[in-house]
């Protein structure tokens, strides 16, 4: 196990957000966390990187694990001038060759001189990915990394993740709304709603009653959903 939680409870203020979470990720595994809005997906990820303190329970990392974190859309204040190269060099300036390699792996070569706020949503997400790659991660954490991207943009981004994973062999934990992506690309799915409702192989989870009730997908809708696979998925957001 690269990272593991043991009976994790997290409160944000007075509110219990996560309860008795036991999960872990093996080397090279792709795990997707799905769940409705407010189900604690982002909080779980933030607990894994140490940004929120658990009320009780533990997060255990195996020693020496390098973690790359790609946050959910980043807003950079207009008053803060920041070139892509400078952004990539925070907090430590990497050797130029490494920086170029990471930019290439994330598919954003040639953007070094641009200002970060002038990038499109998709470009910025890839720059964030490139920055995470600088850590030479054993584990990549993606928090709804494709939020705000259109269908093509998000498909492209997931392709990039796949390519990166094949190159680095790193494990991936991603939080996603996009069920179609989840089903295709994950080794394991964790269905979260404050607690872990169910987890396992994508096919197993999607057939489970917990999943069905959480996402209110009956078979008819699912058929439509699969049929429209090459169209937009924005309407699925309303189902959650």
């Amino acid at each position: 196990m690269l990272i593991q939680t043991h009976n994790l409870f997290v409160h944000l203020g007075q509110r219990l957000v996560l309860e008795s979470i036991n999960m872990g990720v093996e080397k090279g595994e792709v795990v997707t966390i799905i769940g409705p809005n407010g189900s604690g997906k982002s909080t779980l990820l933030r607990a894994l990187i140490g940004a929120v303190k658990p009320t009780s329970g533990q997060v255990m990392r195996s020693p020496g694990v390098a973690i790359g974190y790609v946050p959910q859309r980043l807003h950079v204040d207009e008053t803060l001038p920041m070139s892509v190269r400078r952004f990539m060099s925070l907090p430590h300036r990497p050797p130029r060759a490494e920086l170029n390699a990471a930019m290439a792996a994330a598919g954003v070569s040639g953007l070094e001189q641009r200002q970060v706020m002038s990038l499109s949503g998709g470009q910025f997400q890839r720059v964030l990915l490139a920055r995470a790659l600088l850590e030479k991660p054993d584990l990549l954490l993606l928090d709804e990394a494709t939020q705000g991207l259109d269908h093509r943009g998000s498909a492209g981004f997931y392709h990039q993740i796949e390519a990166v994973r094949q190159e680095l062999g790193c494990a991936v934990i991603m939080v996603s709304h996009e069920l179609h992506v989840v089903m295709r690309r994950s080794d394991r799915v964790i269905c979260l709603n404050g607690h872990i409702c169910c987890q396992g192989l994508p096919e197993v989870v999607s057939a489970s009653p917990e999943y069905q009730s959480l996402f209110a997908l009956d078979h008819e809708e699912e058929a439509v959903y699969l049929h429209r696979n090459h169209h937009s998925f924005s309407h699925n957001e309303e189902l959650h």
Partner: protein, 270 residues
Amino acid sequence: MLDDFLVRAALAGLGVALAAAPLGCFIVWRRMAYFGDATAHAAVLGVALSLVLETPIFAGVLVVSLTMATLVSSLTGRGYAMDTLLGVMAHSSLAVGLVAVSFLDGIRIDLMAYLFGDILAVGKTDLAVIWGGAALVIALVTYRWSGLLLATLNPDLAHASGISPKREQLILTLALAVVVAVAIKVVGVLLIAAMLITPAATARPFCRTPESMAILAAIIGSSASLIGLKSAYEFDTPTGPTIVCTVALMFLFSSIFWRLNHHSRKKSSD
């Protein structure tokens, strides 16, 4: 050379401008302008306390500003919005300070000197305090620069890189209290925020990296201090406000430049 009061005034202005500029950038980037204002207003209470306890003004102001800043940081998110809390606490402590000063009979206190500064009365000891404080702030901000920047961009990214955003916030708070304490003699509590924010805001349109913005803000703040001092001498106007007027004028030109530049860029992309 230090015997000339104008030379001392110029050096004092430079010291404050150099320390305020890089810190002011963070205040602009993190949208903490009101926070700076509140900390400065609380300083009047510090002045009053120092006079009562017969401690150096610098120490009293530093302690009260720090307390104020820490109190606001820790109270935020417990029922009141940050700006409400700052508004209440800043003006209350200003008022309490003013009332407290009025109880101090025996000593004649020129309150105006603390509200608007009295740069022409800066002595050699003041100068040492100002440059000591400025050096401390510059060293602190330079040393923590990358961590501060990352925490400003996104607290979670900072966490993931092993940087605690809380600690960085504390460093900024400390630096802010020091700047307020050293600037009180130069521009006074009511105008400190202007020296923090305006040079940084003026520098923004001309910069592509955070470092260049901090350096340009320092240059702008320093030249505004010198030009303001000279103008105040020429026109016989109050020095602190004249310095702030100078930097405000620079800001005006800079924002006109930004407008025009933005406009032409938009046109060319159409």
